[in-house]
Assembly symmetry: D2
């Protein structure tokens, strides 16, 4: 039984507590949050869990094996460091840390202490992303052309981070998981501010790779419609993931082009292939349920998760590079 404390019971914390509580190998012992009101909700729902507004109540409790840190990103480093120093495995909300230096230091500390870091890249545990992973690992799509993602809606405006740090971690961590063989080399990003002059609310990121493959991300807090769409195109097939679809999240298109006379680049004969579309079934198990299970297994087997500190750090590095590119008018920033 992994005795766990949860720090932060705001928007996402209740989902962590609910899923960790439901896991037969995890025991949520304590929750802390700055708000007494939220702690009351914990007590009402989970009379057995102890609560406190001081997080040392969790961090210094030697009986706890693990700590989930579900707080704003600027607090992750201090909390995570103290948790690791106190010999606890950590489960950290994404993005992992506010800077790559912080992430690097936490990874080294965890290494030294022989503790696990899991960064909560929840989406990689969804049925849709796991299906896409299967499709890509089977080489169903062939050599990849590009990855195009749109994640836009109206709000929620964050006060401490811009739209890149708010929305892009989802997509960057998903792509990092799906395309574990592709190594990004640089980032271009443009963005603009309208509502809060300190923080971008519309941004476009491009991640460049060595081999012609590119990934592009549109993140936006000022769209009248909600869109959550990703397109992955390869030379064999192409795939669209629409996360707002209830039952038809993934469509695999047997479409593409075929070049007939490659030797004569000035007169390429390009033919279109228009085959069938397949909409596979998607497992609907809640992502956090699987992730809680995986957290347990990684701790028990002393095995690094795919969403370990390194994965979290890779995402943070792209976010940092994006910010730097935005500040430098879209200049390419090497990773």
């Amino acid at each position: 039984m992994i005795k766990t404390g949860v720090i932060g019971y705001g928007y996402w914390g209740p989902n962590i507590v609910r899923n960790f509580s439901a896991n037969s190998d995890i025991s949520v012992e304590k929750v802390c949050d700055l708000s007494e009101k939220r702690l009351n909700e914990v007590k009402l729902r989970y009379p057995r869990i102890k609560t406190n507004t001081d997080c040392d109540f969790i961090l210094k409790d030697s009986k706890l094996d693990a700590v989930a840190i579900v707080t704003p990103v600027f607090t992750h480093y201090e909390l995570a460091k103290k948790a690791l120093q106190n010999n606890k495995h950590i489960f950290v909300e994404k993005p992992f840390t506010a800077t790559s230096e912080q992430g690097q230091e936490l990874i080294e500390l965890a290494e030294k202490k022989e503790l696990q870091i899991m960064v909560d890249h929840t989406f990689i545990f969804t049925g849709a992303v796991r299906k896409m992973k299967e499709v890509l690992d089977n080489d169903t799509l062939g050599d990849l052309y590009y990855y195009d993602s749109v994640r836009v809606n109206l709000g929620l405006f964050q006060h401490d981070i811009n739209v890149i740090w708010d929305l892009a971690p989802h997509d960057i961590s998903i792509m990092d998981f799906l395309l574990d063989n592709e190594k990004p080399v640089s980032v271009n990003a443009v963005g603009t501010t309208h509502v809060n002059k300190r923080l971008e609310d519309v941004a476009y990121l491009t991640i460049n790779f060595d081999n012609g493959f590119i990934a592009h991300f549109h993140v936006n807090w000022l769209s009248p419609v909600k869109v959550r769409k990703t397109l992955v195109a390869g030379d064999k097939k192409m795939l669209i993931w629409d996360d707002l679809e209830e039952d038809e999240k993934i469509r695999i298109y047997d479409k593409g082009i075929e070049v007939k006379n490659e030797e004569d680049v000035y007169n390429l004969l390009v033919q279109y292939r228009e085959g069938e579309i397949n909409i596979p079934t998607i497992d609907k198990t809640e992502a956090l349920e699987l992730e809680a299970d995986y957290f347990v297994n990684c701790i028990k087997s002393n095995k690094k998760p795919v969403n370990d500190g390194e994965a979290g750090l890779r995402v943070v590095k792209v976010l940092e590079a994006s910010d730097e590119s935005v500040k430098n008018n879209g200049k390419e920033i090497k990773l």
Copy 2:
């Protein structure tokens, strides 16, 4: 009656000939094309029109008042120059010219000769774009946040131009028409090649403006689905134009955000406004029919069209800057 010759009877030429022929003030006298087969189609359909494979047959005919140039872009400059030198008004397919120098020279020549140049930015004559122009001119949207356009599909691959020069002229000319008060200052673009290693087949362009407003364009020949969508968001309302919709091309969203305590930027209170959606009726008159009429009027009244050489040149400058930015890894290029 404006006596007109049409050079080029490939993909688009037949639409020009059909619409010009239907206009009671235009008489299409001659058509030329390199292909005898296509000229035979002209003869079959329009027995009255004379045809020839040599375009001097049109360019040097002193009885013609105007010439429509409906050929690949790399031929525009030579044909247009000769037409102007021979005292003919010109109607030129988009993009206007292959370089901005060529465009500038043609404009000066037309000026000197007191002739009209109309660049065939057809889309600005569609019911949808005219409705958007009305919406924007009425300040229905308020101060603009951004312009986001997606124009993607499978093929048609061009042999002489990349996807930017093929697809983006539509959207850049539309935006240029809609936002005639906004002045673009620079361009960032990224792109990649897969099929024809000389020509980009996927590209993302950003046009930057002075005031925080940005425009972004996704153009792509390698998408399994066809998308033709433009989003224009302002602080009063937001608009989506989906050109693939038969009857509901434009949706105006009374949605947005309201900032309550602007003085305290660290604790902005942002509220969402979710009002009704309006789908106006769109006039379905064929765009080229209206454009032919407008061409006549501009010639008769000796008045420059909105889609004159300058408009064509503005588009070409953005295309050139985009190419340069792509070649320089997304670097900002001043316009």
Copy 3:
């Protein structure tokens, strides 16, 4: 404070208990259900509520003012009768009763006892149906042509009632609410069984009115896709309600036809009117929250609700007539 007992804690009961508990004028004192397991869920969530598997525990408790009956339809009559005899207002799940005789008897008993009956036609409290009521009461649609409803999906198969009694009460009660001036005169229905040979799983109902207006309902447990769509067409405007849409549930079409020469019926000149489409905002308050409030108000003010026993009875009469028509090969059955 209206002290209330709830009988039945299956699929719908938890929603009743949650909304009644949240109402400041209702106190849910007791819940009963045949399943101990479900009662344990009540205790866990609402430690203050008393539970029992014997419903006399509620029906004979003289301290209770009202009883909510959230059980299968074949039990409604016995439970409701006993509740009324014991001087309790009743809130009854739909359909009201298994036969119209039962419904009539309950209405008379409530009348005599001066008690309120509210039938849980939940949908009439949704934002979408209230918006449609407003649209119809304002005569926005003009004289009505027809009402067409499709409510189909895969399952849930019921064991005690056919698809007509399962799904059609929603739509019949909605129409009854919306069109309170139109009086149905007869019913035609066809249906067929496939899975359970006793119970229809696919059925089509038509309700006929005196004035040419007709209403048609497609209810189906064997559809691969879920559809919840209603079309109400009038001579001024037409309306579509798609309940599966998240944000665009109602669309009002300014479309129709205009007859130019009505005197000459053999050569009617019919013109189409294609105006704009309006998608109004819909209040998202949970329907049961409003219904609970309305239940309180009706009891306090001693005023019959719109969804009273009579409304429930009108629905049951249509269901009975539908069954009879199905058994008689679609024969018209007078109401």
Copy 4:
């Protein structure tokens, strides 16, 4: 070479002339129509074709092998009879005849004269319907539950026939083609009139079969939206055909229900099967092109087409029964 005359050059006639002319085995020799204006269009487009307003010009021309009758339904019988009497194969617009007696007489006459009748059930030659035929013939769907069709839009109002005779022949002929093993036994229909008091503009038809399978058709001239959707559900798979989709006309759902304990009908355990969705490619060849070819082949090989007079007559019998049912308040009419 089959020498052919075409009677009627209104809405559909031009398509017949164009496709017959394009067929290398058909020579369209003559066209007649009551309108000189329409005949001028023929001359302009097909200078070789002779035209006349008197149809004897075609019917009595002994050099013609076949006649296409593309006129209003009330004229079919007289024209077809005269054509057959003059030894011509006939291609007749749908519905075949205005009464089943007329249809029967024409079939017998053709039989005696050893001539072919092809009724223009165009839809059965579309890629979508041919794909459905393939799916059904392969038993992909299993035992069929029902056939549900919706064909609604705004107008076109016809002056001589009601909405049943206008729209339902499409769907009845499609179903007749797809389900050639199922024998309809009776019809129930309801309908109502609003605009033209003589002619129904909204109607619902049910065709009953012996084995629990039913087919239902919604035809409507007063819908604000155009819908062309057909659902065919079987116990193995289910299929939806949406004819307004450009590229995704047919979707095959691997969905259904499974009954676990069939012996105990009072406690059926029903399980849902939610498998993948397949969207096959559809051949886009124009239906009339294939139909023209098939007409040639049937004449040459002296083989009755699937869409022969009998097929046409089966459709007419359903239409007659529908009218009778509507007049008798939805009463079941045996076929």
